[in-house]
């Protein structure tokens, strides 16, 4: 976690310096000569977001018990393999969902009547995907 939190601290410092530079530059520029709020706010917010993440990583670093492989020089890549979780052997639902969304967007180009079919197929595919391990062959 130490490496991750350091990355975000570095990013935060970079964004704040860039923000100050951007503001001063827009003030000094002969054409503009005032604060350009869109960029100043945008870069400043990016800095604040980096502080959030850096702080969170820092807290996680102190809360974790033991050292992560990322922070050890003698660790191997596969030491960092996490427990990925549970996956289906196969599933048709993503294809149905993609088809439903395709028809929804196609309806914007072809004719709005198509959207009723698209929304219906999308709803069926969503419910099918969410509940595919709750009924049928892979019920648990």
């Amino acid at each position: 976690m130490r490496a991750q939190s350091n990355i975000f601290w570095i990013l935060a410092v970079f964004f704040f310096v860039a923000d100050a530079g951007y503001t001063v530059w827009s003030l000094l520029s002969t054409e503009f000569q005032k604060v350009e709020w869109t960029g100043t706010l945008g870069i400043g917010l990016a800095g604040i977001m980096s502080v959030f993440l850096g702080y969170y990583m820092n807290r996680s670093h102190f809360a974790q018990s033991g050292e992560l492989p990322e922070d050890r020089l003698d660790a191997n890549i596969d030491d960092g393999d996490p427990e990925i979780g549970f996956f289906n052997p196969f599933s048709w639902w993503p294809i149905f969902l993609a088809a439903g969304c395709t028809i929804v967007f196609l309806s914007l180009a072809v004719g709005i009547w198509l959207i009723f079919f698209g929304v219906a197929l999308t709803a069926i595919a969503l419910v099918g995907w969410v509940y595919e391990n709750y009924r049928g062959v892979y019920k648990h």
């Binding site: 709020w37 869109t38 706010l41 945008g42 917010l45 549970f86 969503l126 419910v127 969410v130 509940y131 391990n133 709750y134 009924r135 648990h140």
Partner: protein
Amino acid sequence: MFFAGLFAIYFTLRSTSPELWASQTEKLDVPFAAFNTITLVLSSVTCQFGVFAAERLQGKRTGKLFQVSKWGLVEWFFLSYAMGAVFVSLQMYEYTNLISEHVTLQSSAYGSAFYLTTGFHAAHVTGGLLCFLFIIGRAYAVKNFGHREATSAIVISYYWHFVDVVWIGLFLVIYILK
């Protein structure tokens, strides 16, 4: 990132046409929106209590209906769903009021910015409401509420809190800062 873009649109249009903002923001009903904001924030709290129940692996209540301390995930998520639904409904009511005062998507840059930001947020809230129903359905579909159900409930709660935080930002920018 998407909402950051919408905020950028709002601020850019606001800086290019300040007189439009001065005349149009008067039409907003701030106390009404404040009530709506409080409803959404409280729904995040009830959602979090649902997560605590999910972490105890408690799907349904163990006591009577009004023994709130015995509630499981299903009851807390139903309550969060109801509060989220109240939020969206009241927002649609607010839209109708604004349209009757000639603030529409086409009326001006202010109308476009207002409906784009709040409308996309309302669409996200509606998506979250559907997710609540899916999670409640999962809790009913299993005999024993397990880690898979709990994980999906926790993930949905992250989404709900995110939508809530975005609304706090939108509320501060649109209704307080104007």
